[in-house]
Symmetry: C2
Subunit: 356 residues, 2 copies
């Protein structure tokens, strides 16, 4: 991550920002953890091309986090800390300070402005772009995280096949228990939606018995990083038409994946996927995918309105789906890594519909 700190410092030079303040407050800015490896209740990170990065951490967490912080000096946040930083800005004639507008409330910025006689400039895009290209360490974390995610799914599927899990809530609870058993956490609340419920992308898992198409959308948080996969299985006997719909969604995912290479425009890939769905395109009611990382939704954003291109080092989901209101829904989602111009599938949804 030291290279990322250097890269960010270069960005600051380019933006003519001698100082950036990154906060861990009410909204825990993932950029704080990204650089420092810690996520305190209240802390402040100074980033500058002029002097070493440093952290001021509130006394509540100070002792606990001292050893884990990647950034040193690791100092205690005191009553006069902001005053000291203000002095620093005066000494160095700093007129502009970068802060992350996406992780600072209006009130917090207002309070900063009261104290500092500086202009505050948004650095959210720079931080997001930095995080979109994963480091080798992050890629290794993802390879492991995706293996663990697949293992959790195998266990859940085996229990469904043995008829040990028969309702949506049972599947959700089993998956979340298994994640806890390996000492990790879900990256978001597991979604299990079967029958008519599967036609609602954000259905709230309930006590309904599993039947027909059953969508299971879950992920784990491993060393801070989120995985996100969706499996669709069928409980009962699918008709030929139903199997064909599964195949269509699966092929749409493959078709999008085949189009991806470094430098390819994202919108072209989304268009290709939508074209593949043909007349069923209108039943595909959400984005084609999204970057994953410290947050469950990061850059790149696989949307038709995207102006970005795919780049090596990106890790993202591809998740086409079709939803027939009050009937059924299908979604298949895998995690991918674009590395040395090769798209690597990190998780493996089955090509053939799994029937239980």
């Amino acid at each position: 991550m030291n290279n990322k700190i250097k890269e960010f410092q270069k960005k600051l030079v380019k933006l003519k920002l001698p100082l950036a303040l990154i906060f861990s407050t009410k909204l825990k800015d993932p950029a704080f953890f990204y650089f420092s490896n810690i996520s305190p209740e209240y802390a402040l990170m100074l980033m500058s091309s002029k002097f070493f990065p440093r952290i001021y951490c509130s006394s509540l967490d100070f002792e606990e986090l001292k050893a884990s912080s990647r950034i040193k000096p690791f100092l205690q946040f005191k009553k006069n800390t902001l005053e000291q930083i203000k002095k620093l800005t005066k000494t160095h004639k700093i007129k502009k300070i970068g802060v992350n507008f996406s992780y600072l409330t209006v009130k917090e910025l207002k309070n900063l402005k009261k104290l500092f006689k500086c202009k505050f400039v948004d650095i959210s895009d720079e931080l997001l772009n930095l995080r979109a290209i994963k480091t080798n360490d992050e890629i290794n974390i993802y390879k492991k995280a995706c293996r663990l995610t697949e293992q959790i799914w195998s266990k859940a599927l085996a229990q469904i096949q043995r008829k040990k899990l028969n309702t949506e809530v049972q599947v959700k609870e089993f998956i979340e228990q298994q994640i806890k058993l390996i000492n990790h956490a879900p990256s978001f609340p597991t979604i299990v939606a079967s029958g008519k419920n599967a036609a609602i992308p954000h259905h709230v898992t309930n006590n309904d018995k599993l039947n027909g198409f059953c969508i299971i959308d879950f992920g784990i948080r491993y060393k801070g990083y989120c995985t996100d996969v969706t499996r669709t299985i069928f409980i009962g006997k699918p008709t030929n038409k139903e199997e064909k719909f599964y195949n269509l969604v699966y092929e749409t995912k493959e078709c999008a994946a085949n189009k991806i290479s470094s430098g390819e425009k994202i919108l072209n890939v989304v268009k290709t996927a939508r074209k593949h769905l043909g007349k069923y395109d209108k039943y595909f009611t959400h984005g084609l995918g999204h970057g994953i990382g410290l947050e469950i939704h990061e850059l790149p954003n696989l949307k038709e309105t995207s102006k970005e291109k795919f780049e090596n080092g990106m890790i993202f989901t591809i998740e086409p789906g079709i939803y027939f209101k009050l009937k059924f829904g299908i979604r298949i989602e895998d995690d991918y890594l674009l590395e040395r111009n090769k798209l690597i599938r990190l998780t493996k949804a089955p090509k053939k519909l799994v029937v239980v």
Copy 2:
């Protein structure tokens, strides 16, 4: 809660704000749930004295939350919703809009400003003050929530006494399991700190064996509302001096409680408590207490810098503590309700140190 909506509308009139927008976005504003009884992924509430309150909710949650929303009309958030509201502001010649600066990111406000040609005014204080005085419904919820909290503690204590729970993590996990078993959630991550660890107010619960003074700080979230209690027990045989320290902290809590009445200045109560601690005051390193509600820290803030007074309808904690670095710590916290000028203790920390 309808009275609270009316009260808030009156505040808007007083502030000369014809419109307030309350958002449920990245930061779920508790005020959104407060008025509506729902907490969507993305939604927007219009509050005005000029027209009926209404909600626009994103399609992801729309179907699920339609029935539970206390505020109708409950409409679907569409691509042109903000444009429609903009038209509304033009029709009604609205120049100023109230928003909650504490629950809106700088970026979100920036985007609103791009669209609306209005001034945005902070309504965070008005919302916090409104929530500080609980309604009868909220008081009833708290009475039940506190009973449940006490039951959880009784179960945990029984297990500790039977030597079934021997480490910090075991106590934490048992408490959180029991909370889950009654279909609720912890209001914050349970803190268990024993021996030297108890001297660190925000100690991260670990595998250390319980010994000496053992602080257990936890709460449940019941129907959205947070309880927050701390119990200190002793594992082993306390010296006379140690028992006296427990009594001192307990009496400090009682002494503060006895001072409280409607109209009493908060700072006077804090001073009284600190005075009672005498020369040990300097080992009391945090606030005396805080309001509880939809958030774990609300108004009133029991600090010496407070300018507020106690009022009927307030629900808050009193939690004195003393911490001797590298030695031990004691904290005792109960939840209280001030009702018809009478202070009611909703939870009951034992007067006599519990020795296991």
